[in-house]
């Protein structure tokens, strides 16, 4: 190869490098800006409504009459809270016990078997969970409600919470497993060598040490559950009313957005109201995410 060809080759290479690097930078900037775009886009859209009514009025009024221009989000917020909190109460203990089991007790054959199970559960689309809820959980709750003296259609807050809790199990479980694995082995061995049983070690060393991590795993679970749409929408009943018990129908925020997307352009302010609902979701989920991640980072530093 003569010198000219060589230097041409070199220029070609550095050009290529520059091209790739600049495209990478474009991608970086795009993704870094995306969360802000998301927030701003929704905010701008909801400003139309926010100019008309005060934010407190919107958040704490329960009058929902889009045709009359009354937008009170309280029933939806309360429903969302019910479903989310209930689901974390159902799935929390299951995930915690199972995470301890998988990290400290389970035999190898069981691990080999359960890891694909968790992966598949994580991959099942939410609409399938919804179908499952309609087929299995709805009749079950209807019967259970009747025998407890709360006759209902089966499409209730509790149904939504059960379906949701199964959905977020793989998510919460994976984080919990990581959190518990992160507890230094030395501490565990020290406790065992002092004569503590395995369970005592778990209770007094591992759970205590992993406590912030466990809380943040639940926090992340809450943020996941809060925004889940289709599966909940299919089983929760969708009645605009502040629910007063678990055997009543509810209408969570994501369901509100999903159910009304068709008619929102025909009623003034309605699309702005739905975008405001999306903004609430965005803000709540982000706060829970930030809080949980902060807790994890903080705890890591302390260990």
């Amino acid at each position: 190869m003569n010198i000219a060809a060589k230097s041409y080759f070199r220029i070609g290479r550095s050009l290529k490098d520059r091209f790739h690097t600049s495209w990478m930078l474009v991608c970086l900037v795009l993704v870094l800006l995306l969360p802000f775009f998301l927030g701003f886009g929704l905010l701008i859209k909801s400003l139309v409504l926010l100019k008309e009514e005060s934010i407190w009025q919107l958040l704490f009024s329960s009058k929902w009459h889009p045709l009359k221009g009354e937008f009170g989000f309280l029933p939806f917020i309360i429903s969302s809270l019910w479903v989310t909190i209930l689901s974390i109460f159902i799935c929390g203990p299951i995930c915690l016990f199972s995470a301890i089991h998988l990290t400290h007790y389970a035999k190898r054959w069981f691990l080999k078997f359960i890891h694909p199970v968790i992966d598949i559960l994580a991959g099942i689309p939410s609409v399938i969970y919804g179908v499952w809820g309609v087929v299995i959980i709805v009749p079950l709750i209807s019967k259970a409600g009747a025998s407890f003296g709360h006759p209902n259609s089966g499409y209730t807050i509790l149904t939504g919470a059960i379906v949701l809790s199964i959905m977020i199990i793989p998510f919460v479980l994976n984080i919990l497993i990581e959190v518990i694995r992160a507890v230094p082995q030395g501490l565990v061995e020290a406790s065992l060598s002092l004569g503590a049983t395995k369970w005592e070690t778990i209770k007094k060393v591992i759970l205590r040490k992993a406590f912030p991590g466990i809380i943040s795993a639940f926090g992340l679970g809450i943020s996941r559950a809060f925004g889940e749409t289709i599966a909940v929408l299919m089983v929760v009943g969708n009645v605009v009313k502040i629910p007063s018990g678990v055997f009543q129908a509810g209408y969570p925020l994501p369901a509100l957005i999903a159910n009304n997307y068709g008619e929102m352009l025909s009623i003034p302010l309605y699309d702005s109201a739905l975008m405001f609902a999306a903004l609430i979701l965005f803000v709540v989920v982000t706060i829970f995410n930030l809080g949980s991640r902060y807790l994890i980072l903080h705890a890591e530093k302390r260990i």
Binding site: D17, Y105, I114, P125, I230, A278
Partner: protein, 286 residues
């Protein structure tokens, strides 16, 4: 003595509770898969898979869900390709070019985790606002853009997890042999991690095909197979959702059958990605 007995009993009790919790998870999966198959298989037929809906399909007449199957595949494929073009360079960039810039890398990872946590309905609403802003109508293209926004964080983070494991020494030796950073990224690091990248793509594809909330606003719904990017498209999750809300038993049965189709697609994706990572992990330079 008694204390020891109590300790033993407590230990065994909680061991039982823990095993039970793990079993609940396994049983839940079995219950989901079995009940979907049990409900859906009887009404699943070839006709459903190879025909588009005919007139009166949603009242129990002839037809199938080919429009939704093909629509979903188009949409997820498009979204996967679009997000791949953005995700791969970004994941390589933070692991090769900026590998020493810990602060930036952590910031990017943090933001990506944040984005991953944002519910798909919010992406849907956001996609809808963009769509209106640019004067687009519900279409395959709008759906693809929205879904790819939604799967980019998933794809980047899963690729990132793989690239992270590449040994620093490998980077250093590639640099010292005179290769540029991009060459190192695409010819050394990427080649090392092909199976991981494939798994990440499959994971994102699975998410794309299964998500309903983000396409609800943007992709629309139609009985026909889209022939261009500007046409609306049906998707499988939405088709299940719509058919299930029908009061007619026959249409509901079709919803169950469609659910079987979607479940099978997801299971196949999951199995393939497992096989890929198992087969190629043996060929890695450790």
């Amino acid at each position: 003595m008694i204390r020891d007995v109590i300790r033993k009993v407590e230990e065994n009790f909680f061991r039982g509770v823990m095993f039970l919790s793990s079993s609940v998870i396994v049983i839940a999966l079995l219950l989901i898969v079995v009940s979907i198959l049990y409900k859906g298989l009887p009404s699943l037929s070839w006709k459903m898979i190879i025909e588009t809906p005919k007139g009166g399909y949603y009242f129990g007449k002839e037809g199938g869900i080919l429009n939704a199957i093909v629509g979903s595949l188009y949409l997820s494929l498009g979204a996967t390709i679009l997000s791949f073009i953005i995700s791969l360079p970004l994941a390589l960039y933070i692991n090769v070019h900026q590998a020493k810039n810990g602060k930036l890398v952590n910031l990017v990872r943090f933001l990506l985790d944040l984005l991953w946590g944002i519910p798909s309905i919010v992406y849907g609403a956001f996609g809808f606002t963009i769509m209106i802003y640019f004067g687009l109508r519900t279409s395959l293209l709008a759906g693809i853009i929205t879904v790819s926004l939604f799967i980019i964080p998933i794809m980047v983070r899963s690729m990132d997890e793989v690239f992270k494991t590449v040994h620093r020494g490998l980077l250093e030796s590639a640099f010292s042999l005179g290769s540029t950073k991009s060459e190192t990224a695409y010819k050394v690091v990427l080649r090392q991690c092909i199976p991981g990248v494939v798994t990440a793509i499959l994971l994102a594809f699975g998410r794309a095909i299964g998500d309903a909330a983000s396409v609800l606003f943007t992709a629309g719904y139609t009985d026909y197979i889209p022939t261009s990017l500007s046409q609306p498209t049906a998707t499988l999750p939405l088709s299940i959702f719509f058919q299930l809300s029908s009061p007619i038993a026959e249409v509901q049965n079709r919803a169950y059958a469609s659910a079987v189709v979607l479940t099978i697609i997801i299971l196949v994706i999951s199995i393939v990605s497992r096989l890929v990572s198992r087969k190629y992990n043996q060929e890695r330079i450790k």
